[in-house]
């Protein structure tokens, strides 16, 4: 079974159809850059990319590019890569080239959008990182659960509940740390519900997740209307302030973007690295993954499948609760109904895009965060695209990514299958 799957993947990776389709895709991107962007900018116009991270003196001069020349070069390289792909093919490097061409497209788009104007590139990166935090944390929650074989579409509900409880408890006791703890605990609690329903009662995991999402949506809206709205003091926890990491924060550009943030961003990096090491370099991770790949074999070897899955789902719940707390005590400092706005689902897509790995999830989180922050940036620049369409891009990108990547992703083999001991 497993061998068959691997063989199929090998074939598809170098299949001529996929090679041609990719090549044509690169050619289309090149043509788009040239036709829609390159031709519509005025000759001689320049694009200025500011390198000022929010609230700081610029340590580097602005980056000024001649717009038409830049766009034509980007288009030419894309078309060249596309031609090569159609004729010879890049084989195993196709995905790397795909990333490169997609990067060209985004850069070309920015150059076109900001032609004749100035855009703060460093500021854009800073917002991107901030928007990527809940997505990455949510995706890590998904990685934890799904590596152990439990599909968790309840991330959205866990986040929402975590956000509300963190705000409520934080305001009630006047302590952000207590709020954070409560947010994490409510995530664990919902994780427990998910675990009991899907592991003990062998409910379909997607339905069990939907139950939690519906419940969290209802109960947070109920509590918000009953308590938080009539009594605003219960919804005013304040936020974790950013703090500098000594020395590292002094590095130009990178320093202010990465090393002057609040707790959640540092925590995201720590969790990401810890989970990466834990999953792939420790006995704990090997056991967890074995339960997700082949629970029966793991059971035969004496690994307690149920306990491992419970642990993974509870940890995943904690992570999602933590991600939820970011929405209230990590960014805006108050709870609004349905404030997570589907980010739990997007983090699920980020996890899939990141091929069920922590670092890949972060990369995908950055991509989605970028699309999100770009929408607001471009609205300010007055680009002639309705903001609604820009807001659609993360969703469209997710679907394209799912269609192009996931079919061939390395999903845990027993993902979503309940384990029943014989």
């Amino acid at each position: 079974m497993t061998t068959a799957v691997i063989e199929r993947k090998e074939i598809e990776l170098v299949s001529p159809t996929r090679q041609r389709v990719m090549g044509i895709f690169f050619l289309l991107i090149g043509a788009t850059i040239w036709f829609f962007f390159g031709r519509s900018v005025e000759a001689g116009s320049v694009t200025t990319f500011g390198l000022v991270p929010g609230g700081f003196e610029s340590t580097l001069p602005d980056w000024v590019l001649p717009a038409p020349a830049t766009l034509n070069i980007l288009a030419a390289i894309s078309i060249f890569l596309g031609g090569f792909q159609v004729i010879r093919g890049f084989g195993r490097r196709t995905n790397t080239i795909l990333g490169l061409v997609a990067g060209f497209f985004i850069f070309g788009f920015l150059t076109w959008a900001a032609a004749g104007k100035s855009m703060n590139l460093a500021g854009l990166l800073n917002t991107t990182l901030n928007k990527a935090v809940p997505l990455t944390l949510g995706a890590l929650s998904g990685v934890l659960c799904e590596r152990a074989g439990v599909v968790n579409i309840a991330i959205e509900g866990m986040m929402l509940a975590g956000a509300m409880v963190a705000s409520l408890v934080g305001s009630l006791f006047g302590s952000l740390w207590l709020g954070l703890l409560a947010g994490v605990l409510v995530g664990v609690l919902l994780g427990l519900v998910h675990a009991v329903l899907s592991i003990k009662y062998v409910t379909d995991q997607i339905i069990s997740g939907t139950v939690i999402n519906i419940f969290a949506g209802g109960i947070t809206a109920f509590a918000s209307q009953k308590f938080l709205q009539p009594n605003q003091a219960l919804n005013d926890p304040g936020i974790f302030r950013p703090f500098e990491i000594p020395l590292l924060a002094k590095i130009p550009i990178i320093g202010p973007i990465f090393f002057n943030n609040n707790l959640f961003i540092y925590a995201m990096f720590i969790f990401m690295i810890a989970l990466h090491i834990g999953l792939f370099y420790t006995r704990w991770g090997l056991r967890l993954r074995s339960v997700g790949e082949h629970p029966k074999a793991a059971d035969t070897l004496g690994i307690n499948v149920f306990r491992t899955r419970y642990m993974a789902v509870l940890l995943g719940g904690a992570m999602a609760g933590f991600a939820g707390a970011y929405f209230t005590i990590g960014s805006v400092g108050r709870f609004d109904e349905f404030m997570t706005a589907g980010r739990g689902f997007i983090s699920l897509a980020a996890m899939i895009f990141g091929n069920w790995t922590p670092i890949g999830s972060f990369g995908a989180g950055l991509l989605f965060g970028f699309a999100d922050s770009l929408a607001s940036k471009l609205a300010i620049l007055g680009v002639q695209i309705p903001s609604e369409f820009l807001l659609m891009t993360p969703y469209v990108v997710t679907m394209i990514v799912l269609a192009g990547v996931v079919g061939r992703g390395q999903m845990p083999a027993a993902d979503g299958q309940p384990y029943v001991k014989e």
């Binding site: 599909v151 579409i153 329903l197 009662y201 409910t203 379909d204 997607i206 339905i207 069990s208 939907t210 139950v211 939690i212 519906i214 419940f215 949506g217 209802g218 109960i219 809206a221 109920f222 509590a223 209307q225 009953k226 308590f227 589907g342 689902f345 699920l348 897509a349 899939i352 309705p386 609604e388 369409f389 807001l391 659609m392 969703y395 469209v396 997710t398 679907m399 799912l402 269609a403 192009g404 996931v406 079919g407 992703g409 999903m411 993902d415 979503g416 299958q417």
Partner: protein, 426 residues
């Protein structure tokens, strides 16, 4: 099946019970089988209402303040709170019997209509649920989880509203079917895309339909603030549809009950006939219950998946169409209060059977309508209904919980559990 049974013309209720209790002990009496089929949903509903009552008591400030002086008083206050809330839920959705009798005695037309309005309003409210839950149920029967009913509903409403207001001068007999068809087509389109992606690339329909939901919301935001906005309005509202496209009403104001309810019943019958009496329906159900077996039997999985998602989308589109043509007569931003999401719970509650779906939709129509009165009478936020839904859904999805609580016997044979295929292709 014996000769005698074959000749007997089965009535709808019997067919339903037979469908639901297929398998277990055929020889058991009808009552027993009815109980076997309905015990879990019924007890799930009762348990949900009990948990809702606990929630009402636990979040009531009166109860806490009285509890401090005397626990007995606190309990009494809690009981009163629950009685007032559920009383309002009942009178707001079914009607107040005393008022109905008084109205009938007075013979005043307006007063009679007002007295009967709650129950008719409940039927009106259940109409989009019937369409939406049929959409979700059809998906489940094919092994697909269509969370995208909400988005498909919006696109259907957009199509229907456009046909409704842009065409004038048609007779209603042509205009109404045209607008209904447009709505179904819009929804079908929105269901076709994730269905096709699922079949061709293996991209999971759960993620794709959720993404299509958000795309649909943004699209309708843009349309209502731009091309489809009423020229003389600053609000994000479309023009009012032509009178010839409005679904006819049966009574004078304030009763809003319209043809849509009967259309929904008709469509539910059609879905039943399609799923259980045609070859296409058989193929879909086979793919849903065992895709591998269906593939070996030579069934076309790709075609089934695409067809099921398109049909599911069309049904969801009709839910939105029904609201535009029957109730609102225009398209407004966020006109749907999550009908598409509620439909998931309703479909599961109705065991994904069209008749079950109709009954569960009526129940939810009653709950939703009554909750509005409850919000006014007892200051209970309407979202409590969503919480109830989650409880009921959890109990339905894990019948073992209900069986443990109420000490019911395990069914003799395995139940047909709803299950959805994993993330990947198969």
């Amino acid at each position: 099946m014996s000769e005698e049974e074959k000749n007997k013309k089965p009535d709808a209720g019997k067919v339903f019970i037979e469908e639901l209790t297929k398998g277990p002990d055929k020889d058991a009496s009808l009552w027993r089988r009815t109980w076997q089929a309905l015990s879990v949903p019924l007890l799930a509903l009762i348990s949900g209402l009990i948990l809702g009552a606990i929630l009402i008591i636990a979040t009531s400030q009166d109860v806490y303040s009285l509890w401090a002086t005397s626990p007995l008083e606190g309990l009494k206050a809690g009981w009163t709170e629950v009685r007032v809330s559920y009383g309002a839920l009942f009178s707001g959705s079914i009607g107040d019997p005393a008022r109905i009798i008084a109205a009938l005695q007075s013979g005043d037309g307006l007063e009679i209509r007002r007295a009967f309005n709650p129950i008719l309003e409940s039927l009106t409210a259940s109409t989009p649920f019937i369409f939406g839950a049929l959409a979700v149920a059809l998906g489940f029967r094919t092994g697909l989880f269509n969370i995208g009913a909400e988005g498909q509903l919006f696109i259907g409403a957009i199509f229907a509203a456009f046909v409704g207001y842009s065409i004038t001068g048609l007779p209603a007999i042509i205009h109404i079917p045209l607008a209904l068809g447009a709505g179904a087509l819009g929804g079908a389109l929105w269901g076709f895309i994730p269905g096709w992606l699922k079949a061709k690339t293996g991209g999971h329909e759960v993620i794709n339909t959720i993404m299509m939901n958000y795309i649909a919301f943004r699209l309708s935001d843009w349309l209502l603030n731009g091309p489809m906005q009423r020229p003389d309005s600053f609000n994000p509202v479309s023009p009012t549809i032509s009178e010839s496209a409005m679904l006819p009403k049966f009574f004078a104001d304030p009763i809003r009950f319209h043809l849509g309810f009967f259309l929904a019943l008709g469509v539910a019958w059609l879905v039943y006939w399609f799923l259980f009496k045609t070859r296409w329906g058989f193929d879909l159900r086979s793919v849903g219950s065992n895709p591998h077996a269906a593939r070996y039997a030579g069934m076309n999985i790709v075609a089934s998946t695409v067809l099921a998602m398109s049909l599911s989308g069309a049904l969801a589109g009709l839910a939105g169409t029904n609201e535009v043509l029957g109730l609102n007569h225009n398209l407004a931003m966020a006109f749907s209060s999550g009908y598409g999401f509620d439909s998931i719970a309703i479909a599961l509650l109705g065991k994904n059977h069209p008749l079950g779906v109709v009954i569960a939709s009526l129940l939810f129509g009653v709950l939703r309508t009554g909750a509005i009165r409850m919000q006014v009478a007892a200051q209970i936020p309407i979202d409590i209904i969503t919480v109830l839904q989650a409880f009921i859904l959890a109990f339905i999805a894990a019948p073992a919980i209900i069986r443990t609580i109420y000490r019911l016997r395990e069914p003799e044979i395995e139940e047909e559990a709803v299950s959805i295929r994993g993330w990947g292709g198969d």
